[in-house]
Symmetry: C2
Subunit: 673 residues, 2 copies
Amino acid sequence: MNDKKLMNLAADNIRILAASMVEKAKSGHPGGAMGGADFINVLFSEFLIYDPENPTWEGRDRFFLDPGHMSPMLYSALALQGRFTLDELKDFRQWGSPTPGHPERDITRGIENTSGPLGQGHAYGAGAAIAEKYLETKLGRTMMQHTIYIYISDGGVQEEISQGVGRLAGALGLDNIIMFYDSNDIQLSTECGVVTAEDTAAKYEAWGWKVLTIDGNDADEIRQALHQAQQEQQRPTLIIGNTVMGKGALRADGSSFEHHIGTHGAPLGGEAYVKTILHIGGNPDNPFVIFPEVEQLYARRREELKEIVAHRHAAEQAWASENPDRAAQMREWFSGKAPQVDWSALTQKADAATRVGSAACLGVLAEQVENMICSSADLSNSDRTDGFLNKTHDIRRSDFSGAFLQAGVSELTMACMCIGMYLHGGIIPACGTFFVFSDYMKPAIRMAALMRVPIKFVWSHDAFRVGEDGPTHQPVEQEAQIRLMEKLQNHQGEDSVRVFRPADVNETTVCWQMAMENMSTPTALILSRQNVKNLHPETDYTQARRGAYIVAGSDERFDVILLASGSEVATLEAGAELLRKDHLRVRIVSVPSEGLFRRQSKEYQEQILPRGAKIFGLTAGLPVTLESLVGSNGRVFGLEHFGHSAPFKVLDEKFGFTAENVYAQVKAFLAED
Amino acid sequence: MNDKKLMNLAADNIRILAASMVEKAKSGHPGGAMGGADFINVLFSEFLIYDPENPTWEGRDRFFLDPGHMSPMLYSALALQGRFTLDELKDFRQWGSPTPGHPERDITRGIENTSGPLGQGHAYGAGAAIAEKYLETKLGRTMMQHTIYIYISDGGVQEEISQGVGRLAGALGLDNIIMFYDSNDIQLSTECGVVTAEDTAAKYEAWGWKVLTIDGNDADEIRQALHQAQQEQQRPTLIIGNTVMGKGALRADGSSFEHHIGTHGAPLGGEAYVKTILHIGGNPDNPFVIFPEVEQLYARRREELKEIVAHRHAAEQAWASENPDRAAQMREWFSGKAPQVDWSALTQKADAATRVGSAACLGVLAEQVENMICSSADLSNSDRTDGFLNKTHDIRRSDFSGAFLQAGVSELTMACMCIGMYLHGGIIPACGTFFVFSDYMKPAIRMAALMRVPIKFVWSHDAFRVGEDGPTHQPVEQEAQIRLMEKLQNHQGEDSVRVFRPADVNETTVCWQMAMENMSTPTALILSRQNVKNLHPETDYTQARRGAYIVAGSDERFDVILLASGSEVATLEAGAELLRKDHLRVRIVSVPSEGLFRRQSKEYQEQILPRGAKIFGLTAGLPVTLESLVGSNGRVFGLEHFGHSAPFKVLDEKFGFTAENVYAQVKAFLAED
């Protein structure tokens, strides 16, 4: 069998498996998988370098799939690699199977990223490419010489986010990216021409990419393009592969079912399926087979890989012997363990904004956590991630030694690229913007939560106290919104995102410490723009580790508990002074994280917020933000409407966030009995 | 004074006013405003057509500002038009002033859109351009011949969303768009070159735009470019104006402060401000003046405009006489009143998915509401907005008579463009996608809520019952998330978004009726993918208008109330059957909208959910979704974790969304007493 024939056979094998998986599951997307089979076969059988014995090898090439609905293609190709059994393919989309409808990250099986929401996958890939280049500056070329292969489809190229990725990958000259664009001209609802007339090659060239256009169903052209891409040393490469959706598919009447929307999101169905499988060389009665020639093709590739990685491992070992400290460091970075940080050098300026407190923490981290990369969506001097930036420098196309990524105005791209840095391994990412713009990042937050990526979100300008910028820049519902993720558990039963809104700069320190210790979920830090008075000087801030705690100066016995997060705690303290003049006894509770508090023992929770206590909550967010904390006896004073443009102290007065109003509200609340 | 000199004087006047506003407010963004002054002066004094006597005239040119932080430029230029007083400029960013930090929609003053979050403003403009072309097909060129001017800055061009806008405007050939790109190479944190190396002209050309590149501070070049753009009859035009941020600014020492990040987001400050104002011809002690020559320039323009619009109005009146029915229709469309819909022709297929019920409603609307445009982000055949599409056709570059916009895979762009259609006037927009992807639209939802845009969001695939597509496609936290907007009030004290999750196809009809009647806030419809059994046949669905109501077949006296929204109501009915076999008396309450329910009288609320009643809530979302409805006596069974990939009936069993589990949960709940 000549090479071309063999390659087509292998691609047909993938097509048969993919179409059959969908047919058996009665659900899924066969068309794209059939069109992309040729590319993934060439990539997997000739180019992708990995260690069959050690799938988590740090030096492996990475393959990021963007269109998660093309999972049948990926699972089938990975089955040829030996990473999935045919039975597992048969179990596609069933409860508990390793072949869910959209792939979920499982490195040992060759799945680098969870995918589904279009566009995010390729952004992870671009982030991984930055991670690799950054680590190369630390560890050298021997350890970091791999390629980031990305697979994207029409939908991903169309999603807004691909603009951020195209721009940044081009500007930074990420020549370690080879992205295959499976261009089949069919979307879910229409042919692409209905919604786009763009010259995609010209667009990517405008961003500084090298672009190759080929027949994406021709193994020879694919091979040649991949070779050319590997030679490129300045730019990311986009291979536009013109492919045929539903390649090889027939209708029940035997006519061509290629290039048809009908194959996108549903099984080929009955007789069409049978005709198709026969047409591309399978047995409809027993479609789940790997042809012997294909088996041999992939067996040969395994042998080649063994040789390739043996050489690589030898070089790596030589490097490790020569660089024992770096080697130890690398192991540490890739271990997934939290970094050791000596916080003793940190000094916090009293009564500063918590974003300023965060900047001080970031300064410590920039100096001590060499594998941390921080980013900002064009707000570093405002969200105060410049605390990090000032101790390093920004990443530029010719210099990846800096640890700060200026992402530009593109919050979602930034978040996804930071996720990708972590998915690559070796990097702890953080990223900042205004809290109100966390809205833009929600799709990525959700994916980070699902994949358990311990990214640190730094969100400043946390409430109406943003002031003059007005309602478009003043978050109100956002704290309650992100805390929903603290209520939503990941597959391991953890709160899927840990959320902190610290009460002052010292609590900010403890929250940053917890953020750095948390290596299993994303952590969010919600920070004030305005200065915040420090809590009572005797406060034991380490208690913040329990999510909620009693602030020093509280009365041993109390008539009422005042409870808040963030800068509202200081407002409560000011209100408490007035209440005490009326001989009321007050306990003040700071709750940087309700989720963490709920993870404490029932005894502790009861100790801090005893059942039956009168609890008054104050929040600059919606009242619902605190409602479950104050309980049925309680009362929340919050903000139930959009903000306004005015100096924040004026807004404090207008909206009632003053000591005087706390006094009045609490008095009224207690009088209700 | 020759023309060039006068134009420069007028631009300097804008610069002086803008810098002084920021200086006085001690807060804001002077640099961009100073750089853009030349363009807006040429546009406003020579091109923009509006009726000084009737600012809401439907035939006016529209000016959409994207970078809301450049509000000082806009307010100052509008002051030259006579729409703001100098005192109002002095009141910039203060409580209650009409000159908030970011502009808030106020057509009578020439502010077409609220802006702030970069990129959204120009998407509104593109939506308005579609609206104009659509209305032109109905009303003719006499009535709809205006131009959509858009002003965008580096940040907006960088935001992911500009890709969606660039693509769609190019694909549709929106030649009524003239967009000025204020390219000053300075972002908030860095110079642009740090984060981008794109050839912006080439990028827009790749999308099919005509691109002109000029000196954006040169009145002659601006004028010439605008003339050229007006001639274009196939493509949208992008004028790339190379501008100087902080044009004319000096430092305290008298050196140039132009082209500097320092002028972006803070007042020039003290002596630098004084030097700057002197340098550009103002009086620092009395900067809030309009120069007599500039006053005359704009007075002359007002006279020209009177003549222009007199001709236009005459033609419009002639058209109205010839087309009295169309004229009446046009008045109706632009009135902001809810359309009259005869729902009697609607038939719903029993026990269908609520997305199918929605498709039936959309079919009625497509036939009867001629000024409604529906859109989908490449999911029309799945979110079932094809119920609308099937009665019309999609909008294409050469044919704007169809009422369906295929937006492609770009949820945020779609939402913003639909907002823009409404802002234009005359159009009622709706748009659909999967509910989980409402995450992508949140930034636009928030702006629609703030601007009171009565867009209809159609979100199908509402819960884990999406099934095989798995956790990336299964919303869990999204219902609680969007309902936060029902708790957040707009500036008029209304719930800022109305949210419905109907229990069956008939309730879907009533919810769609309410959606169409709601012309003051956005409405969201959350719909099931899977079939849902109709509620008890005697149910009075009109009660859904009260937000929550008792489903027919409920027991007059009851031991427990079972409460839910969406498809969980049917699950409760099935559970109730089992409970009744145990001689328990059950009331079932369907709550399509908690927000609407909270707007009912206390008596009604007490009647439906009496204080002290035992209430059991069932939700496929987070338990918090229903917690405030069931109250402190109550219990919610919800989903506290991400979904999984499997057929939804398997997930029902695994997650406990079955009649049997409702029975078990309620029994356990009641046994606690």
